[in-house]
Assembly symmetry: C2
Homo-oligomer: 603 residues x 2
């Protein structure tokens, strides 16, 4: 391994800063890291040969096309772009390009490969071009803080995890002043193009930038790339976001290990909370890979309630309380009932399965919980809103008089919560004084609630098992792992395609690589109009464009498959331990179940 010390020659507003000590030193790489650097990446065959870019039909929007058209007068309706084979490279132009790239938001394995893909496109097809990496996310664009990317600079990051080549950030380019700063940078660096690697928000931002540059007649074009381990940025043309594959496989390795441990000791229930704030894709994918006994899917919350509600209506009916039953069954009643997922429902669902398992002699198991569970439970949302209000204005007295300000329902819930969670709700507050929902350790909360409920059932003679809960949270461990072969290849193609799209003069598109269940040579390549993914939300009386997060579809193939098997997994033990990610040999080219199922493949 060459001891290639990376010279992180930072440039801030044109002034070269001394190289910081954070750059990667390939000489201290582990053997596996080092072996990955030179891992050869296949390209889809359409990108390996001469190609041209053709337009598809005009596009619309995911919702409210009228409003989107108003917000994006220059970009709305533009067609998707498709890369197709050609006699000669139609893009081949003598002109060199100046391209910037930025990483935006949380880490996802493969980001470095998107950058390598863009870079290699320029090296191979637009010789003499220049590429800049904006440092620390969108703030790097606004402050014109960047580094010039060279082959030596990029080399040690090839196929490596993390975002540390140029780092990321969570700033947004939102105000007129900030757009002005971005324009200044684009002009100053004479940028032909900018690639924004990010999630739903960042790609919305990319599109606003594209619209703005076009409106101001700047030559700078903007292309987005779909990044997020959460897997919730996807559409028909963008089959998956990068990083999801690697992160899920890392979590699944750990879950599989814990399963074998559970079976070997026979005495623990492991409650595993998994990262993924809004959607439950990660939890669902990990379930498909490992077959846990219980999996809570946030999006399904309402159907757990459906059952509860249906039973209740049935009870009223059987008791002859026809009026009450009808109230429940009538449309507004249904709506109210459907909204009423409660922590008690979730606890009961878990406790029912634990009790049944105890009867079969199993006092152990593995339970997966999505990080975002609490966001799906209206009563908790309500309690938090009330607490935020009260704690902003009231003194919290020791005698608990402040609690009188809570509504009856919220007070009941608050008293139902384990003491440690009550304290977390009271103490852990962000600088704005709000409860930090992401910090609530749902897995520990559920353990305590399950424990209490099982104790009750034991007293009543309905449960005779032994229960010991162990909590786990897997999150940060998966965001910066070495990308799988799939993510490495997928990201490289996304980057290479972004280069091609910019080269052909496209803007406001998201790089799209499809047909991912087929061998890499057959992957399709193109760009999708970012406006076609958008809808609007009303915030502070104004319409804001948003790319809606893709939630777990209860009618989609991944959930259907899970649904058809979970009863078997609950009571029989069908654990699968995926083992550590392999880069060579068995399973090294495997693709995650969610993607394959969504593409109609058999898993």
């Amino acid at each position: 391994m060459a001891a290639a010390l990376v010279a992180n020659g930072d440039v801030v507003a044109g002034v070269k800063a001394p190289a910081p000590a954070t750059g990667r030193v390939a000489s201290v790489y582990s053997e596996v890291q080092a072996s990955r650097i030179d891992h050869a990446l296949p390209l889809p065959s359409v990108l390996r040969n001469p190609f041209k870019i053709v337009d598809g039909p005009p596009s619309s929007a995911a919702g409210n096309p009228g409003e989107i058209a108003k917000l994006f007068p220059n970009l709305f309706g533009q067609p998707s772009a498709v890369v197709v084979p050609s006699e000669s490279d139609s893009n081949e132009s003598p002109q060199k390009l100046k391209i910037g790239v930025v990483l935006s938001g949380g880490q996802a394995p493969g980001g470095h490969n998107v950058i390598s893909g863009i870079f290699d496109y320029l090296q191979e097809r637009v010789k003499g071009s220049t590429m800049y990496g904006f440092r620390g996310g969108p703030a790097g664009i606004m402050k014109c803080k960047y580094v010039e990317l060279t082959p030596e600079f990029i080399y040690p990051y090839r196929n490596q995890g993390g975002f540390d080549m140029i780092c990321s950030g969570r700033d947004k380019i939102e105000t007129p002043e900030q757009f002005k700063q971005a324009e200044e940078t684009a002009v100053k660096l004479d940028l032909d193009g900018l690639v924004v690697i990010g999630g739903d928000d960042s790609n919305t931002n990319a599109c606003l930038l594209a619209e703005n540059f076009r409106g101001k007649n700047l030559k700078t074009r903007v292309i987005g790339c779909p990044k997020t381990i959460d897997g919730d940025l996807k559409s028909k043309e963008v089959p998956t976001s990068f990083g999801f594959d690697t992160a899920c496989k890392i979590y699944a390795e750990m879950i599989g290990n814990v399963m074998i441990d559970a079976r070997s000791t026979g005495k623990y229930y492991h409650f595993v909370r998994l990262m993924g704030r809004a959607a439950s894709h990660i939890t669902l994918e990990c379930a498909l890979q490992t077959h846990p006994n219980i999996t809570i899917i946030g999006e399904e919350a309402s159907s757990i309630v459906k059952v509860t509600w249906c039973k209740l209506a049935l009870d009223y009916c059987l008791e002859g309380k026809k009026e009450k039953c009808e109230t429940l069954v009538s449309p507004p009643g249904v709506r109210v009932a459907l909204k009423k997922l409660t922590l008690k429902n979730v606890t009961d669902y878990i406790v029912d399965i634990i009790s049944k398992r105890a009867e079969l002699g199993y006092n152990y198991g593995v339970i997966l919980i999505p990080e975002g569970l609490i966001d799906f439970i209206p009563e908790v949302q309500q309690l938090i809103a009330e607490l935020n209000e009260i704690l902003a204005h009231e003194v919290v007295d020791e005698d608990g008089l402040w609690k009188r300000k809570l509504t009856d329902q919220s007070l009941e819930l608050f008293e139902f919560l384990p003491q440690a969670i009550q304290e977390q709700l009271m103490l852990e507050r962000d600088p704005h004084g709000n409860v930090q929902v992401a910090k609530i350790e749902t897995e520990k909360m559920l353990i305590q609630m399950v424990e209490t409920e099982l104790e009750k059932r034991k007293q009543a003679g309905a449960y005779k098992g032994e229960f010991k809960g162990q909590s786990h949270f897997f999150g940060y461990e998966g965001r910066c792992g070495l990308p799988t072969n799939f993510d490495s290849t997928y990201c490289y193609a996304l980057g290479y395609a972004a280069g091609a799209l910019l080269h052909s003069g496209k803007t406001g598109l998201i790089s799209s690589v499809g047909n991912l269940a087929a061998p890499v040579e057959e992957w399709t390549v193109g760009g999708t109009a970012l406006t076609s993914l958008m809808d609007v939300e009303r915030r502070h009386g104004k319409f804001k464009p948003v790319i809606k997060k893709a939630m777990v579809e209860l009618e989609g193939a991944p959930f259907k498959k899970f649904e058809s098997l979970r009863d078997e997994w609950a009571l029989k033990n069908r654990y699968i331990s995926p083992g550590p990610i392999q880069f060579v040999g068995p399973s090294s080219n495997a693709v995650n179940h969610t993607l394959l199922l969504e593409l109609g493949a058999q898993v």
Copy 2:
């Protein structure tokens, strides 16, 4: 993959029970699990060819040989056994053997391979032999609960993690009645030998069983095998315990990922607590593999104090307080000072480095903490002892009057602790009413204490950084992973050797495989007298034999290497991300640093 449904034909006291549903079903294995089943295991060449077993010189004990001789009149002093090449197999006897095996204590990757090794020895060298697996640990011996091991039964567990083939347990064979039960089982099954796979306690127990059987003139011999992920069962002839290699590599994968995450975001300090209750080998090994900024080694606790104490003495001296200085320097003073590692020392040590890093512009980092840290801090031990006493007899009043029963020092410490930890100390108690030390989340405690101290320094203008702590605990995730190539091969050799030792009539030995830094062919094989590893402890007025846990040696090569590099790791970022364990290709045959350094190899 053959859909070999495992028929777990349990036998309880001679009655065949119906097959439980817990057995492994190879047809639902992941691709990696399946690929491991048929992974070919090399044997040391001495075991591949005809061999004989020769005796070494007589042995003594690790301490108090007189007492050990009294406790083991039949076994004390017996020589080690060495397997050496021979013209023909001296062990070859027409007699078939009946051998039992038991897994004892916590899981460690490779246990299934020890069993496969014994089994294959019998299949290849003592055809027609029978092997029994006792279920659920030593209790299986006492209750005569076992399963007959067959090629089909063993097959799906080859090279697989976990202990679920026959499961484990933490019971001990201690009372005269329990020894009687074990004898009955040995007689009933007509056992020629028993292999006990376990840690320090289990191997002590194995030796007591061997002594007892020999004393009663039973033909049943007993051989131990060194198991524990903690790595604290080792001696000159037993270079490492199995499972340590795999567990450390799994933890190091996660730590490496978190490091890249820390560097990418630039805003978190990750506090990682690592399993390993008594000794800090796991933490030290993970540090050598990943180069964290701060690593607390429990065994070194006193030297952190040495510095604190030395500084204090120096201060007194410089201030002209010669008397105070001399009191500190005089031998009893030194002793007292050395004993006084405090949580405050540890906090200050961490805070000092965080402050220096902030000056360099780094507001992130990774800190490793051994699970057993609290056991190394006398003041915490004292507080816990007092709490156990008080809470057993006093009512805990809300006004805190009960605290008056604490000594001044303990009260001061209690008030110094973060509130959440105070509550954990008060609420989390085991069935005997004692504080559950293992449940104390040291990593969270340290985060809060570091936060408080940094806030103080900030007020005083001595710290200008930003601090955000993230906590992690890696434990259960590593106990049942797929064993590395090293652990797979090492365990198979340990088992094969145990078979050979029993076959040649040995008892009271621990299977010993050495020269582990060399290629497998050159590994040495033999058995070490368990009594030679023993010392005595006085408990309830009686001498009890114990195999002392091997702690981290501050003069040993692994610690020395760590010590020589940690200052560089603290301020410069020398992170290494080992990546996931590979079974093929780069690093797949790597051996852990601790073992290599202890064997004198350069790492």
